[in-house]
């Protein structure tokens, strides 16, 4: 079947089997490999992308059901500069092997945008087998205070 996806601001047309997940459509068909396939069953969060601005698991989302804009980690940087959350992950050393990081970053971006009260709870769907959790939480908090001071300046 033919579907149209809007990914990181670009409209992409593709012909897929109806069973194809958003994750496989992104990775295998569109070459967008930021979202990772960790478990393919919704337990690890490495495939987290935004659909209509909300974090979802690309492995449990049927590509054919998606009509809203999709944003992946590739769509975060602007003007050649990393997103403030990406910058915070680098500065806080919020990763070791990095496999979970694109998913962590997508949840973290939503946490900052939604100004969530409980960062650990909001990030609980993203596993890090290197257990970089303290630094991940620190990165989210850094990005949040960066945003708050930016908002205060406006």
């Amino acid at each position: 079947m033919d579907i149209t996806l809007e990914v990181n601001g670009e409209t992409r047309h593709l012909s897929i089997d109806p069973r194809v997940t958003l994750l496989d459509a992104l990775r295998e068909r569109l070459g967008i490999t930021g979202p990772k396939k960790g478990c393919d069953r919704g337990q690890c969060g490495a495939c987290t992308v935004h659909v209509d601005g909300r974090p979802v698991l690309a492995c449990l989302t049927l590509a054919a059901t998606v009509r809203e804009p999709v944003r992946t980690v590739e769509g975060l940087a602007a003007d050649g500069r990393p997103h403030p959350v990406q910058q915070a992950f680098a500065e806080q050393d919020a990763l070791q092997c990095g496999f979970c990081t694109s998913g962590q970053v997508m949840s973290a971006v939503a946490a900052v945008e939604q100004e969530v009260a409980d960062v650990r709870e909001f990030m609980s769907g993203n596993l890090c087998r290197c257990a970089a959790y303290p630094n991940i939480v620190a990165a989210v908090e850094q990005a949040r205070s960066t945003k708050e001071s930016a908002d205060a300046r406006v």
Binding site: M1, D17, P18, R19, T21, D40, R41, G42, Q43, G45, T48, V51, R54, P55, V56, L57, C59, L60, T61, L62, A64, T65, R67, S107, A110, E121, F122, S124, G125, N126
Partner: protein, 293 residues
């Protein structure tokens, strides 16, 4: 594989009648696990995401009509006051990512004995609204489940909504699992006080072939509260009564040993959760009176 994408409820029912073996998919968080691992290869998928009639909730004739396609995140953010037990259960579903996609309608459709919505819906005396080209019917949640992952849904039927009377008293939900997120319940319990009818609602999860209420335990507790005049006096819930209620809830379950927990553990956990949720709800009922006075 066919992919059916109706854009109205009437069209969705026609699709289901024409393709009774089509698997309905809303958020996909349950169906996709089976597809990804080839545990299931349905001849057709019926995408309900474009059916506007399923996408909202409203107060209808004194009841909340929760469209089958409303995601958990909206149950939590919009319905905490009208469906408190269900909102509590929704907070324990999967992870934030899952709660952005998964729906109560999908939870019911999958009919897992471990579905998180079910104990809360049972305790609230909710009903399931079911449609087909033949018409619409309403089934109490307590009669909806017929076996492990089986329900009264006929092959040509779809779930349109859940119907729940707003609470007249406090509700509680408790769940045991091994991790904060992405946990399939080892066992779960929903509890509701219905002071308007002086009844008690109960729902057992993950401790029997289907989600089920504990009607004998509920009638026992309501009767003891009545006999002691506690519904009116709002006196403290005697600890012995709460403990006995927990025992009777435990006796209403039929748990098995599996990878998530032993039957003995589930039974014990249920008795504890029933005692605690009843006590929490009763304490909230007493507080309501104090804050009103």
């Amino acid at each position: 594989m066919d992919f059916l994408a109706p854009t109205s409820w009437a069209e969705a029912l026609e699709c289901k009648a024409a393709h009774p073996d089509a698997v309905a998919i809303a958020g996909g968080t349950d169906v996709m696990v089976e597809l990804n691992f080839d545990h299931r290869r349905p001849p057709a998928l019926l995408d309900l995401n474009r059916v506007p009639e399923l996408a909202d909730w409203a107060l209808d004739d004194g009841r909340v009509r929760l469209g089958a396609g409303v995601p958990y995140v909206r149950v939590i953010s919009e319905l905490g006051h009208l469906l408190p037990g269900l909102a509590m259960a929704a907070r324990t579903v999967g992870s934030p990512q899952i709660r952005n996609r998964g729906t109560v309608g999908g939870n019911l459709g999958a009919a897992s004995p471990a579905g998180d919505s079910h104990p809360a819906l049972l305790a609230a005396f909710a009903s399931v609204e079911i449609g087909s080209v033949r018409g619409t019917r309403e089934v109490p949640v307590a009669e909806f489940f017929t076996g492990v992952k089986r329900s009264v849904l006929e092959p040509d039927e779809l779930i349109s909504a859940v119907l729940v009377t707003p609470p007249s008293g406090p509700q509680q939900f408790s769940k045991i699992g091994t991790r904060n997120a992405m946990v399939i319940a080892v066992s779960a319990f929903g509890f509701a006080l219905h002071p308007d009818t002086r009844t008690v609602g109960t729902g057992i999860g993950s401790a029997a072939p289907t989600p089920r209420p504990a009607p004998e335990a509920a009638a026992f507790l309501a009767g003891e509260l009545e006999a002691a005049g506690l519904w009116s006096s709002r006196g403290a819930l005697p600890a012995t009564l709460a403990t006995e209620f927990g025992r009777r809830v435990r006796d209403a379950a039929a748990p098995i040993d599996d990878v998530r927990g032993s039957a003995a553990y589930r039974s014990h956990a249920l008795s504890v959760m029933a005692r605690r949720t009843a006590t929490w709800a009763w304490d909230a009922y007493r507080d309501e009176n104090r804050s009103a006075a």
